[in-house]
Symmetry: C2
Subunit: 206 residues, 2 copies
DNA sequence: TAGATTGTTAATCGATTAACAATC
DNA sequence: TAGATTGTTAATCGATTAACAATC
């Protein structure tokens, strides 16, 4: 097995993947490091450096072939497979996530939606029906799910997290404000648009 | 005026802000660098180093006072004011964002929602009514808005972006998959949960 | 006092960037 | 050929970490 990527390299490669996916959809056959730089705010030299560590994917004077580079990065990141994820919360945010086309594009399927509110269990969201959180263990094992998304209010976020972890989930994407306590072998990624915004404002205002 | 923060420092301080905000809500009076480290995945030494660059905020053997540290970081990031933001898109994601409590907590108000779909104009979302995108310039100037959030499908994302920029918006948070073309003085932050997920999976699988 | 945790140093490592030869 | 863009070097800067004295 090749060396494990550093956190920084893996993060940047993911960004390139995102840009290439869209560039392909827009019908761009070729793309230069300069163009990728404009869309990612990552320095063009850094991009070429990152890529050339794995091979000579570009053509001087021309750029990179979008499709080929996409495949190379997928190989490096080993993200060619299909992945099932579980969603906790069938409210507004949960529904938005379940119906978003953004996951399918990268081989990710929202394979189950869970709710603790009995009123919502059985309702349809997107093309799925909402499951009771009590069935989380059975369903996650059956569908081979190790990624869970928390789209419930802060008050119930820890309960939803505990339930998912009990069902074998190892990666949690937290869209609530709550700070989640998890065992050491579970990874939490917390998203907070408000905090990202304060950060962006700092650079705008100074 | 003090030195401008580096990108890395500003990003980390924002994360501390997020943790402190929640810790305060949970009634924690004091917090140690070790505790902040657990919630942010940032090394505890780095946290103390970041903070001590601006003053001696902690007490040896005790930790930091949550409330006081929160205020210090707000001062450093200059995010004590109130900010109005505009939202493009009154669909599922737009509604979720408009009704989220996550912004108010940091002094951010969704001050206007815009739609190009005439069917949706005038409808109520949260405690606001949806405006026509044709009125974006007038409303953004009136409400002093320089931040816009794109919560429309990829197909109309560029149009929504152009409208917001025409109205004076300088910071765009893009929740669509589209790559947005913007003038040099406008900053785009694109969020893609699917890409973040691939990145998280890489470290889980290797 | 004993235990805990900060503030700071010193050393290392990775990120960033400009510059430019190679080459398409 | 002329123009463009990669691949690579070299130099600098910031991030990361262990270690530990200071001190609450």
């Amino acid at each position: 097995m090749a060396e494990r990527l550093t956190v920084g390299v893996a993060a940047r490669l993911s960004r390139y993947l995102q840009v290439l996916t869209q560039a392909r959809k827009m019908g761009k056959d070729r793309i230069s490091s300069q163009e990728i730089a404009e869309y990612t705010n990552i320095n063009a030299t850094q991009i070429r450096r990152d890529l050339s560590a794995f091979g000579r994917f570009g053509k001087r004077g021309v750029g990179y072939r979008t499709e080929a580079l996409l495949e190379e990065i997928r190989k490096i990141l080993r993200t060619q497979g299909q992945h099932n994820i579980a969603l906790a919360g069938a409210g507004r945010l949960g529904s938005a996530i379940a119906s978003s086309p953004i996951f399918a594009e990268h081989g990710i399927t929202v394979a189950a939606i869970f709710e603790s509110d009995p009123e919502k269990v059985g309702q349809r969201v997107g093309n799925m029906s909402v499951n009771s959180i009590d069935d989380v263990a059975e369903i996650c094992r059956e569908r081979n799910i190790i990624v869970g998304v928390i789209a419930v209010p802060a008050e119930t976020a820890q309960d939803a997290t505990d339930a998912l972890i009990g069902a074998g989930v190892k990666i949690i994407f937290n869209y609530s404000q709550a700070l989640l306590d998890v065992p050491a072998d579970v990874n939490v990624h917390t998203s907070n648009p408000a905090v990202d915004l304060l950060y962006a404002l700092y650079f705008h205002l100074t």
